[in-house]
Amino acid sequence: MKLDTLVRFQNMDRRWIFLGMGLAIFLPMMFPITLPFKVDERVQALYDAVEEVPNGSTVFISADFGPSSRPELEPYFRATLHHLFRKDIKIVSATLWPSAPPLVVPIYEELAERYGKEYGRDWCFLGYKDGKELAIKSIGENIPNAFPKDHVGTPVGELEVMRGYQQAKDFPLIINVSGGAPGTREYVLQIQGQYDLKIASATTAVSGPDYIPFYKAGQLVGLAAGMPGSAHYEKLVFPDGPPEGVRLLATQAYNVLNVGHAFIILLIVAGNLAFFVTRRAEEQEA
């Protein structure tokens, strides 16, 4: 191979890379491949934390994700609702993201119906609260004050599921489905330590490494990060495959990721090989 070609390869028009990436995503979606995988310890811890919640008690879900983080987090969100409703655990939920309500309410309604859960008694959604960290502080201190009404305007005093749940520490477990900020970091920093809360987090692949120190320090009881986190959780909730009418989107996408990753790794390796060959040649010339 000519040296010149290698140099040009190193500085190639990045649109070739874009094209390759596009194919690496598109092709495996058309022609799926499936590989087995093991469940991560942090996701297992998250699952166990939910298992430890006694049947019939109530957990708090802060559903803080939007359209952009939806592909990664919706599968987890669905899986955990299956898990909770199946275990007869009640849910009080709210969000700190303005774009979340139109996304999460239909999912709640769909799965509540599937498991025969009644709004107000078995679950409720308090809607969106502005103020980021401040809103989290008030969830820690005073939920009825932060959310005087639910998302359809019912005063929270009239929601039976809310009785006795005035502040974050009343809940045996808080699940934060976190697409970014405000999210798990803010929950941990603002109120976890202050009230000694049990918080579990499902987050995007990007935020994952940021939250691992929290998990290590015991500030989080479990952590599912990105598409693998969601796929692992799906595997834990449905070990024998999905029931009728349920699609495991994360498990499907997890396999597409294989090819995308392989493509980037190959690119980097090829780039470095070319780099070494040309550098050696330059050194010899000099």
Binding site: V206, Q219, A253
Partner: protein
């Protein structure tokens, strides 16, 4: 499914492809999508902030709040008036009061917030209990992802080295240079790992878009009326056709930025 929703689904696929055309180059069809996006998002932001903050926290309190709330709401009203004084050059200096207020209030509350969460807690968590780690994992345990005394010590030393790398007010001695270099290596290890970890999330986003374009995210009965694959194909032809025509009009002399 109503006709307007089907139209919406097609429009959304078309706009998706318009944005993706930016990968080829900045072009009129992308610019169109960009400016629609800007406009819609600004309108959205204004509406949501009005109904989310302005109305409940100010207007509602002024109109039907208790007396205490009404009195308290006057203060931000005055500050808003001062802020708007910016529009008049002669009185622009009045805006310094609300700016001073807001910067000071947030700086004050963040000062303790950061100190508490990012310094105190992190330091307290960084001190390992070595006898306990030894009893549980020994020197190094593969099963527990490398937990053990070695890792505990690495953590303490790595953290210290990274912190000392950020020491600004003394010339670096030979030893300090070595410590600092080690700190940088730990930082790079972390950055590389985070990068690799993130790749997945980013590809996931593109998968999400592809799932919509292929109609994989919808129940079959909706797919039957929307025909997302057909929509994708038609829009793709339109966008590519437009790009070719546009490139021709630009002439061959134009070298696209890559």
């Amino acid at each position: 499914m109503s006709g307007i929703e089907i139209a919406g689904a097609w429009l959304s696929i078309f706009l998706t492809l318009c944005v993706l055309s930016f990968l080829y180059d900045d072009n009129p069809i992308y610019k169109l999508a960009e400016h629609i996006f800007l406009g819609v998002s600004i309108g959205y932001g204004v509406i949501e902030i009005y109904f989310g903050v302005f109305k409940p926290n100010l207007l509602d309190k002024l109109i039907d709040g208790t007396t205490a709330q009404q009195v308290l709401a006057v203060v931000p009203l005055v500050m808003i008036a001062c802020l708007f004084a910016k529009l008049d050059k002669k009185r622009a200096w009045l805006a310094r009061f609300p700016i001073a207020f807001i910067v000071a209030a947030f700086a004050g509350v963040k000062l303790t917030g950061q100190l508490n969460a990012n310094l105190m807690t992190q330091v307290a968590e960084s001190i390992p209990n070595i006898p306990e780690v030894w009893a549980e994992y020994g020197l190094w345990s593969w099963e527990a992802d490398g937990a053990g005394v070695l890792s505990s010590i690495f953590l303490v030393i790595g953290l210290s080295a990274c912190l000392l790398h950020f020491y600004f007010s003394a010339p670096q001695s030979k030893t300090m240079q070595k410590i600092s270099r080690f700190g940088v290596l730990v930082l790079m290890l972390s950055f590389g790992a985070s990068f690799g970890y993130t790749v997945m999330g980013r590809i996931s986003l593109a998968i999400g878009r592809a799932q919509e374009m292929l109609g994989l995210d919808r129940p079959p009965e909706e797919v039957a009326v929307i025909h997302p694959k057909m929509a994708t194909l038609i829009c793709l032809v339109i966008v590519i056709g437009f790009l070719i025509a546009w490139r021709k009009r630009q002439g061959d002399g134009h070298e696209p930025a890559n």
